[in-house]
């Protein structure tokens, strides 16, 4: 069943057209890769779906569970089950990562409506810490959100937050860039577990084959200049890596 669908979507950023007539669909519980050369509109697509205000929809539609979400706020989209892991999230001083996770995750929510911060008596703390440990970022729990996190730490913190929201569809913007081998394995394992559960649709924007192959993605889309130019599957990845986008697309596209 189609969960989220983009129809003839046109998007501008600061008056410059980035996406020009894009049609795509994402089914429930499947894993997708969005690939394409730099500047092809991959991140723009994800941020537009999330509803970030700099990304202005000039035409077309985005439908989630059969309903247009163009008039929905960022908050509403997040509450409907759309999540986006930022590439470079802003620092929020004074808010600890562990408190924030507790705030956004329905499973960890053990605080009163008005409580800004988690109390010492919070019962979910053990589970929360297990999750921090498994992601290898227990050291970040008491630090301020994104404040001075390294590149690899940001990726895992973003992943943890997005997973904590229990979304229906998540867009992961280069979840693997800047990670060392160990962290890459951690991230891969985490995503695989989610994929095996089969409840969450995953859309991964990436340039690297490791995560995509590890997850055994169902489908891949290649964007170029804001348009969909190729739809394929896992078997394309090695060829793509060997040839590069330009040659690969020359070979598969009609002249």
């Amino acid at each position: 069943m189609t969960l989220l669908e983009v129809r003839d979507l046109r998007v501008e950023v600061a008056g410059i057209p980035i996406i020009g007539g894009l049609d795509l669909g994402f089914d429930t519980g499947k894993a997708y890769a969005i690939l394409g050369p730099n500047g092809s509109g991959k991140s723009t697509l994800a941020k537009t779906i999330m509803g970030l205000p700099e990304y202005v929809v000039k035409g077309g539609d985005i439908q989630f569970e059969g309903e247009s979400i163009l008039n929905k706020s960022i908050t509403e989209r997040a509450k409907m089950g759309i999540a986006y892991a930022f590439q470079t999230p802003p620092a929020i001083p004074g808010i600890r990562l562990e408190d924030f996770i507790c705030k956004i995750c329905p499973d960890y929510a053990c605080k009163g409506e008005d409580d800004m911060f988690m109390t010492n008596g919070c019962v979910c703390k053990d589970t929360l810490y297990d999750d921090f440990e498994r992601l290898g970022i227990a050291n970040l729990a008491k630090r301020d959100l994104n404040d001075g996190f390294s590149g690899g730490e940001l990726k895992r913190s973003e992943l943890f937050q997005v997973l904590s929201m229990r979304p229906k569809i998540m867009f992961l913007d280069e979840p693997d860039s800047g990670l060392d081998y160990d962290s890459l394995k951690i991230v891969g394992r985490e995503l695989k577990a989610i994929r095996d559960e089969g409840r969450t649709t995953m859309v991964i924007i990436s340039h690297h084959r490791y995560i995509l192959e590890f997850l055994e993605i169902d489908k891949l889309f290649i964007l170029k200049s804001g348009r969909l130019v190729y739809t394929g599957d896992m078997s394309d990845i090695p060829v793509l890596e060997e040839k590069g986008y330009e040659k690969f697309l020359e070979g598969v596209l009609p002249a």
Binding site: G51, P89, I92, M116, M165
Partner: protein, 410 residues
């Protein structure tokens, strides 16, 4: 008592001297305290409304967790109490200390010159009372010492003079709350506070203010820090008021003397805040830091000042001044001043004033928070003040007071 006469003379000459900063006030429009202060026997004589006021500024009137306490109601009554097991701590009204120790006179108006302005001058010339808190040499008092001044009378002046001494090698943490019930009409809190931090002593002074909309506040504070001494001041003001102007000055007169002045201002209503701090680096290796965080809502107007004066080589101080504007009718002005008089005085500052960033807001909203919720989270994070040299219990008091005020204000 020539020195006393000399002091009165200097005060009289300064009676019309305007304050350097802040709006001017006509000191004739208030009533001044007339009689001496009376001592209360026990907490039972304090009403429950008053106890609630104390709690609003982080003071636990039952003082379960405190080493000692001093509570003063206007200029009329006080309660001073030291826990029996706490040795080496003295708490009493200033008048009693002056009777008990001759040397107290040498400390009065020494850190704060009596002719600073008309407010200090007038304070000296009227009946005044306040607290005397002293940690004896080498005594480490880890539980906080509480003090509280309640201003209840309308159209009058609460004329306070406090003296705080941390003797050589001692350590003391004071939390002081000042509050006025909302029924108070146009009263003036005139508070002189003088701090003396001797060699190797450490003093932290955390002040939480909760005034009412019509109170005028003019504290005049100064500290003198000797060799290797540390003075940490945290000033938290969370309520509306008519106007406040304060500019405490810390003189670092001994080698390696250190100070940190933090202020957190939650500007609300139509209040006017002119709040700053000055650090005078007088001895070599002295270091200082002035941190100011303010938010302005409604029609609040905030001026955040900081003044670093480098008078000796090998000194270092930093000023951080951040303001968050939450209303288009409010204003925040950050005025950093750096004044190096010698080579080798390293002074720096960083100041930011602006609205809540759209990028931060969108980010938090993408995690499912509503716009208001996201804003309040950013604001509460911004206002969070972590002071490394503070006992956790005091850190918590500050956090709780700030949270409470932010909730009430939005």
């Amino acid at each position: 008592m020539t020195s006393d006469n000399e002091r009165k003379k200097r005060a009289k000459e300064a009676l019309n001297k305007p304050a350097r900063y802040g709006s001017d006030l006509d000191l004739e429009e208030f009533e001044y305290p007339e009689s001496d202060i009376a001592e209360l026997e026990s907490l039972d004589e304090i009403s429950s409304t008053e106890k609630q006021l104390l709690e609003s500024v982080g003071i636990d009137p039952e003082q379960n967790r405190a080493a000692g306490a001093f509570i003063q109601l206007d200029n009329e009554a006080f309660l001073a109490d030291v826990m029996i097991k706490q040795e080496g701590l003295e708490i009493m009204p200033l008048s009693q200390a002056r009777q008990k120790y001759d040397w107290v006179e040498n400390y009065l108006w020494n850190a704060v010159p009596v002719d600073t302005d008309k407010f200090t001058a007038r304070s000296e010339l009227e009946v005044y009372e306040g607290y005397f808190i002293r940690a004896l040499p080498g005594v480490k008092i880890t539980a906080p010492v509480q003090s509280c001044l309640l201003l209840k009378k309308s159209k009058s002046v609460q004329n306070v003079h406090n003296l705080i001494i941390a003797e050589e090698g001692s350590e003391m943490h004071i939390i002081t709350g000042c509050a006025a019930p909302s029924s108070v009409e146009r009263s003036l809190h005139l508070g002189i506070s003088e701090f003396y931090i001797k060699r190797n002593a450490k003093l932290s002074f955390t002040m939480v203010h909760n005034w009412s909309e019509k109170t005028l506040i003019r504290p005049r504070s100064a500290a003198i820090v000797d060799e290797n001494g540390i003075f940490v001041s945290n000033y938290v003001i969370l309520s509306p008021l008519r106007s406040i102007q304060t500019f405490p000055r810390v003189r670092l007169v001994g080698l390696y003397a250190k100070t940190e002045l933090n202020s957190v201002v939650n500007g609300v209503g139509e209040s006017e805040y002119d709040i700053g701090g000055a650090v005078s680096l007088e001895a070599r290796r002295a270091t200082g830091k002035v941190v100011s965080r303010s938010i302005a809502t409604d029609k609040a107007h905030i001026i955040a000042r900081g003044d670093l004066v480098g008078l000796n080589e090998d000194t270092k101080a930093r000023l951080e001044c951040d303001g968050l504007l939450l209303s288009s009718q409010a204003s925040i002005r950050a005025i950093p001043m750096l004044d190096a008089r010698v080579e080798g005085a390293e002074l720096s500052h960083e100041a930011t004033v602006g609205k809540v960033g759209a990028e931060q807001l969108n980010y938090l909203m993408s995690r499912g928070l509503g716009k208001e919720e996201a804003t309040s989270l950013i604001v509460s994070g911004f206002m969070k003040l972590e002071v490394p040299d503070l006992p956790p219990i005091l850190q918590r008091s500050i956090e709780e007071a700030i949270e409470l005020s932010l909730k009430g204000g939005m």
